[in-house]
Amino acid sequence: MSEHAAVAGAKPHVAHEAHHEELGFWRKYVFSVDHKVIGIQYAVTGLLFLFFGFSLMMLMRWQLAYPGAALPLVGRILGESRMPGGTMLPEFYNELGAMHGTIMVFLGVVPLAVGGFGNFVLPLQIGAPDMAFPRLNMLSYWSFFLGGVTMLASFFVPGGAAQSGWTSYTPLSVYASSGQTWWLIGMVFLITSSLLGAVNFITTTIQLRAKGLTFMRFPFFVWAQFVTAFLLLLAFPPLEAAAVLQLMDRVAGTSFFLPTGLVVSGQALTNAGGGNTLLWQHLFWFLAHPEVYVLILPAMGIVAEIVANNTRKPLWGYRSMVYSLVFLGFMSFIVWAHHMFMTGMGTAMAAFFQTTTMIISIPSVVILTALIISLWGGSIRFNTPMLFALGFLPMFGIGGLTGLPLGLNVADIPLHDTYYVIGHFHYVVAPGTIFALFAGVYFWFPKATGRRMNETLGVIHFIGSFICMNVIFMPMFFLGMAGVSRRLYDGGAAYDFAQPVLHLNVISSWGAWMLALFQLPFIFNFFWSIWKGARTEENPWQATTLEWAAPSPPPHGNFVQVPQAYRGPYEYSVPGAAKDFVPQYEA
């Protein structure tokens, strides 16, 4: 049934792209407006940045484990200005630190989770032929690409890349070398990309869903991407404004963030002064807190799909999960100053932000608990996607629980800016989100390529990664509780109180280098399977959601016949049914 018949007698709308002739190489693979191509572009670019950002950290981990020691081979390649005689300069350490964070968050995880999975899976899962605005989608990818190029190029400017933390706190960042300006410009490109993407995702989800697909029949993944898009849409613009203000301070001599009486390197400022350095922190964290939910929500969405599919049971508490998700999204906008407890705010505001932060932990717990309860009584299939999804659950649990003391004003005092914080957020993002993203790759690879990835290599990837992630990040809680600050280029070696815990740095570093080794099976598996993987049919996982109705890989326009949704998304093990699953799209 044609969806153009909504207005009687209306002329079918003529699209602008020429779909009837074969497109040339550039229009088909590079400047494509097809959401699947764009999704793969985002995913591959995101994965490359993820590994690059990880490599920066592996360099840092040498300095942290063996402060002041010369790094064999690699040290010499990086040159005298950064690693004289193979030993890392503190300035270079700061560059690596700031760019590791920036790249992982903005160039790695979000592009993969939202740009990659969101773009590829969302239209298929709602039964749509593409996104609502295909050309805008292409523009979003290339804006992201430009942002990435800008960030990478910043390594090569005099003074190197940004080195004031991924948080770019003022006034330090205002006086940093030119790499910081490149960082700000890169952020403008990345923010633009996300804003345009968010407009697309929201419009598509509301308008292009198939007949019969009501909001409460959405797969949880769709809900997760939908809420995430709102976070991106409304939280990113203040950071864009802040970036403009910092650019003005750096380039036009303004004093938005420069207080009167500031002295830099022994010299009093000649600027007008009167600025407010906390203004930067407010505008930055107004985005950056919702941003961490941007990092986790798509991951929860992916895990939900894979858990339901591999327990052969409906998700437990779907409705509660959806309400929690929406509530979480809303709350994420009013907790941000828990990153700023040490900035001298009064007790009233501290109490406010502490309260909202405690409240926001509730929906997270509801979602995690529902996912865990969903396992009970299931016929669990332990394939690679499910292993990573199962691994996600306790890891996210640890990450979430360790966040609680940080969210309480007083408990935060000894923990703020220590390694405890690094341990907390890495548990959520690394064996949390990134595991979910790996799960998603293994899960949707057959849909995208028509082939399956190798299971044995997948299991090795999982077991190795799971162990190494814990080896890296668990010691950090103890390092932090002993009082070791973050962003110290010697890992605390200069401090007496840190001596008893310094060996933990060595453990974390070896964990990181081992983790890198265990990614090799994955990288090999990914590329090898594209050409040599076992061929698969439309629905190799016997799943219920709409994307499995499309051919593998789906053609331009996605579906041979426009699908319709006849039931909820997780009709597994329905009593009396012929198979142990009844797809959403089967009449």
């Binding site: 207080p259 009167t260 407010h282 100053a337 001298g344």
Partner: protein, 108 residues
């Protein structure tokens, strides 16, 4: 255009005439309010009152533009929902940073 479309269009035309009259009225109102706000500013009221009055006039003018030029007065629920959400966060953004560091601890 099909005949259905043409019929719809002529209904539209009568509708549009009514709208055009509204646009002109709103235009005049906006001009008047602009003059008013400039004249009031010349009086140099105490700052809090001056701010309140100026913002009140701005809100009225803005509402006229939004409701009639942007047709918000007859928009769909979905658009209202998006804007309500935005308004809530807009208020948070304007108020909370100022409240959190109202005592100017870090300034000067």
């Amino acid at each position: 255009m099909t005949s259905d479309h043409a019929a719809a269009a002529s209904d539209h035309a009568a509708d549009i005439d009514k709208h055009v009259r509204i646009y002109i009225t709103v235009f005049v109102a906006l001009m008047v309010l602009t003059i008013i706000t400039v004249l009031i500013a010349r009086v140099h009221l105490p700052i809090p009152i001056a701010i309140s009055v100026a913002m009140l006039v701005a809100i009225i003018k803005g509402s006229l533009v939004a409701c009639y030029f942007m047709h918000l007065i007859s928009e769909k629920k979905l658009i209202y929902a998006v804007l309500a959400l935005t308004l809530a966060f807009f208020v948070v953004l304007l108020a909370l940073p100022a409240l959190t560091h109202a005592d100017g601890y870090w300034i000067h």
